[in-house]
């Protein structure tokens, strides 16, 4: 069972209590195997971000069980098993790009010699090698997000959690970043959980798309993406790609109707 990075059984999450209680998630069963790229997709309020936060131990489940790398999520967090990327890059303004990437390394007690070397390596990986001494405000939104990804991967976590990371980017930058993330995923063999509300993005990136529906948030369908593992602009024009997009769209519509 050790090759399961995430294993959730009957997991639910309710915020608040009494009359103000809101059930965000109900009856979540989810397995994510090592090397998977899983997208969580659904309308707003379907709990996809909450599910990501549960995996990252930023919130705790109310019922059911959840393990990350076979451990309690809290244990996995303390073991620094995952890196996280939010929709906003959340870089520290007073630190240079390189020092931002070094932040987790400082906290995780990497040696002062290893930190800059590791940070430079990560910046090269996201193709920002020439920007190490820049400050975040000197970079475009897409570049800032690449720094955030470099920072999340700097300590080589086995799991990368991404919460609508490209939601604030324009379409062109977005497609470039998708390609970038796929390349990083192959080069670092990290498992990825990716929250998005873009159907083409979910299909293009994932090995599996988890379709969620709201009120209360639950998984309505899982769709395996059987596209070739190596994906490029040709993938975006292939017939199978469009079929899968249609399949996900219909699953979303169906989930919405059942929820309403």
């Amino acid at each position: 069972m050790t090759d399961l990075v995430v294993e959730a059984r009957g997991m639910g999450k309710t915020f608040g209590s009494g009359v103000e209680a809101t059930e965000a998630l109900r009856g979540i069963d989810l397995d994510i195997a090592s090397g998977d790229f899983v997208s969580l997709i659904g309308p707003s309020g379907c709990g996809k971000s909450t599910l990501l936060r549960l995996i990252g131990d930023l919130v705790s489940p109310t019922v059911g069980s959840l393990t990350v790398n076979g451990k309690e999520p809290g244990r996995a967090r303390l073991d620094r098993d995952y890196g996280i990327v939010f929709q906003s890059a959340t870089l520290l303004d007073w630190r240079t790009v390189e020092k931002n990437v070094e932040l987790p390394l400082e906290i995780m007690d990497f040696s002062p010699e290893e930190r800059p070397a590791r940070a430079r390596e990560m910046l090269d990986l996201v193709q920002l090698g020439g920007f190490a001494e820049h400050y975040p405000w000197q970079l475009s939104g897409g570049m800032q997000q690449r720094v955030a990804i470099a920072r999340a991967l700097a300590f080589r976590p086995s799991l990368l959690l991404m919460d609508e990371p490209f939601g604030a980017l324009d379409e062109m930058t977005r497609e470039l970043m998708q390609q970038e993330v796929l390349r990083l995923w192959e080069e670092t063999d990290t498992s990825v959980v990716f929250v998005t509300h873009s159907i083409p993005e979910a299909v293009f990136l994932s090995t599996r798309v988890v379709v969620m529906s709201p009120r209360p948030g639950r998984i309505s369908r899982e769709i395996a993406v059987d596209l070739p593992r190596r994906r490029d602009d040709d993938t975006r024009e292939s017939a199978r790609y469009f079929e899968l997009i249609t399949e996900v769209r219909e699953a979303l519509r169906k989930g919405e109707r059942e929820g309403a």
């Binding site: 303390l78 073991d79 959340t90 906290i107 995780m108 800059p116 001494e133």
Partner: protein, 289 residues
């Protein structure tokens, strides 16, 4: 780097001079127009109420007492004494304010418990507090100037505490979640995220506090009957106002300059601090190249 600081200091000096000149022009303009039109309100333009600016300046260079040193020297020395009290009060008050900000951001309970008292402390007039502190300080054999510093600290800690707290709370929730995902300790969150984020807020408060600490020191000198500071001279000259109004205005000018000097120094420190972090990364660039 040193040149930049010098340039900034020079620019600040020029702008202070400009403000004083503009104020002098307004003063003389008011006197001229009001005298010409025979107006008496709101303030009479007579020389015994509003002495000429050049008379005020001249007074500064005349002996304060018969055959003594010129007034400007006496007042400069008094200003230095007052600034010392203010500076010590500023450091103590700033330290307490920062400490309270950190305590409140760490514990909501302590914020709820103590914040009302912190706010209430500022609604009590400093004029009521000062005599008590002076009497208690005298009982405890604390040097008088240090007692006055305590009064300056009383005015200083509040803006620093409030702004430190605001600054420490300024990072977005995602930044805190990010730190949580690194399994960082509370002190790492404080020193690597919250305090650097709070620096601009803290410096804004320090500038307000620098001015307030000078006021606090002057007010503190009054009930203490402290000799050698600005407070006593201001009091004495205001009693002699009908005989020699220009003396009071001269002393007020010096007191104002003292406050501005202090605020100016804090501003320089702020720019140095920012420059320092830039310089540090500059050095790394050279080492890496």
């Amino acid at each position: 780097m040193g040149a930049a600081v010098n340039r900034r200091a020079a620019r600040t000096g020029v702008s202070i001079l400009g403000v004083i000149l503009a104020f002098a022009l307004l003063w003389e303009g008011y006197k001229f127009v009001w005298t010409a039109l025979g107006w008496e309100t709101p303030v009479s333009p007579e020389d015994r109420v509003m002495p000429h600016t050049w008379d005020i300046l001249l007074t500064l260079f005349q002996p304060a007492q018969r055959s003594g040193p010129p007034l400007i020297l006496v007042e400069a020395r008094a200003a230095l004494m007052t600034l010392r009290e203010a500076f010590v009060g500023f450091l103590v008050g700033g330290g307490i304010g920062f400490g309270l900000g950190v305590l409140f951001v760490r514990s909501r309970t302590s914020e709820r418990a103590f914040m009302p008292y912190v706010v209430a402390s500022q609604t009590i007039p400093i004029l009521a507090i000062a005599p008590m502190v002076v009497v208690w300080g005298g009982r405890l054999d604390i040097p008088q100037w240090l007692t006055i510093s305590i009064i300056a600290a009383y005015l200083t800690f509040f803006p620093v505490a409030i702004n430190t707290l605001r600054g420490l709370r300024s990072p977005p929730p995602t930044a805190l979640e990010l730190m949580r995902s690194y399994a960082s300790s509370p002190s790492e969150v404080l020193w690597k995220l919250q305090v650097p984020a709070a620096m601009p807020y803290i410096f804004t408060a320090l500038k307000v506090s620098a001015a307030a600490s000078v006021i606090g020191a002057i007010v503190g000198e009054l009930p203490a009957g402290f000799r050698g500071g600005l407070g006593r001279d201001l009091l004495q000259f205001s009693q002699q106002f009908t005989a020699a109004p220009e003396k009071l205005f001269a002393a007020v000018l010096i007191a104002g300059l003292a406050g501005m000097l202090f605020v100016g120094l804090v501003t320089l420190a702020e720019h140095r601090w920012v420059a320092a972090s830039m310089r540090q990364t500059g050095e790394i660039t050279r080492a890496g190249a």
